[in-house]
Amino acid sequence: MSVSDVERADRATPGLSPSMLVHAVVALGLIAWLNHRIAHAVPFSVKKIEQSYLIFYYHLPSALSCSIFFAIVLVGSIQVLRTGSAEWDRRAVVAGRVGVAACAATLASGSTWASAAWNTWWDWGDPRLMTAAIMFFTYAGYVLLHAQVEDPVRRRRFGAIYGILAFVNIPLTKYAIEWFGATAHPAELSNIATDEAIVITKSVGVLAFFTLYCLVYRWALQRERTKDRLRSVLTRVRAIEEGAAA
């Protein structure tokens, strides 16, 4: 397959299918509902760390979503090693990319919150913050490795192997940093979240952002499928052309 064929396949960008459009409308609707609740429904009397805590409703959903997508990477990686499935490989790597994006959103929103709540943009001793940052680097490495290996079978296998190593690293890092550091994180946000209005808003937030990330995931997965199909078609066309020429 020639270089221009690869480029052509890589540029293939399918639009949103009708069901994805509905998905998008639902996600945006949920985010609008979340914003409405933050503005009007959350009782200000129970807030403990001043208004800066409101970013929590954007911070927590991204953090939860990123863990879910990293778990999908693990499941996909195990499936790839078991069956060699190309579809699970696509699911895993797309989940990795969306997870890294969600992780970046978590770090950015958390850092913004920290600047108001802890009076510092970055707390080097905080286990959760540092674990999230290390997760960001490991999974960015995973995505990079997947992109750099050229042979498709090898790419699948290597990606899966690092996908497993990256997951194994999470508990080790967490304990290591917890043992040798102290946290500034609000111990349990559930402590301030006993109020019903807060619990509902938190759930709406998680639902809204998870729906949004799922939309990105679906779209990217479809793009990846189209790309792979187009590549195999182009390879076959070239083979036929070469056969005809010879």
Binding site: F137, L145, V149, R154, I161, A176, I177
Partner: protein
């Protein structure tokens, strides 16, 4: 031939080659020494800050120098197809893996010995022999897991263009737990304190987890080269 003897033969073969060329150990040691000098310009060794930063400086240097060694676990320049050759030999994959981990560990261990001694002398750390042995023991213990995961990653990245950078990008985040442990251990040793159980626990856990994971995953990596 039993697999233990196979492993020992492969290790001896690798050490012979290293003795003849001395490429890996020497480049690791030189890199580490240059880094120590660079860092001495950044943080004046005479100040109180430098004294507190000593464990961190030492370990940053050891980590980066060690990553040079494990990255070359499957061949120096011009020997890119060593692993393929080994796979053709009637030798089990597990033996190949352990032989590589052991020989790489030996190289890193020699580098650790030289660099830790040089560091203590250059930074004028007044300390007894027992402290030196404690730090070295920590380095050698942590080196097992370091080589176990480094060798696995090297088997993958050596086939990728620009794999050297990728190898470090993939390796360094995985080393954070053990890095935390050994830095803390070195701090305690230099202060003359008792070594805490957590430091030992994290180093052992790291070794066990990555030896097990490394062996299993190495099998998956080379399955691809054979097939």
């Amino acid at each position: 031939m039993s697999s233990l003897r196979t492993v020992m033969r492969l290790v001896r073969w690798e050490c012979m080659r290293e003795l003849r060329r001395g490429e890996i150990v020497v480049s690791m040691i030189l890199f580490a020494l240059v880094s120590i000098f660079i860092l001495s310009f950044a943080i004046d060794p005479g100040t109180q800050t430098a004294v507190r930063a000593q464990p961190g400086i030492l370990w940053t240097v050891l980590l980066l120098a060690g990553s040079i060694g494990v990255e070359r676990a499957f061949g120096r320049a011009g020997e890119e197809r060593v692993l393929e050759g080994l796979l053709l030999a009637p030798v089990g994959r597990v033996s190949i893996y352990y032989a590589r981990v052991i020989s790489t560990w030996l190289f890193v261990a020699v580098m650790n010995l030289v660099v830790i001694a040089a560091f203590l002398v250059l930074y004028n750390v007044r300390t007894d022999f027992a402290t030196f042995l404690t730090i070295l023991g920590g380095a050698w213990a942590a080196g097992i897991g370091f080589c176990a995961v480094g060798v696995t990653l090297a088997a993958m990245t050596r086939t990728v263009q620009g794999g050297e950078i990728l190898h470090r990008l993939l390796l360094l985040p995985l080393l954070i737990p053990v890095f935390k442990g050994v830095v803390s251990l070195t701090t305690q040793a230099l202060r003359g304190q008792e070594i805490g159980p957590r430091e030992i626990a994290i180093i052992l856990a790291f070794d066990l987890v990555y030896l097990a994971a490394g062996q299993l995953l190495f099998d998956e990596i080379v399955a691809d080269f054979e097939g």
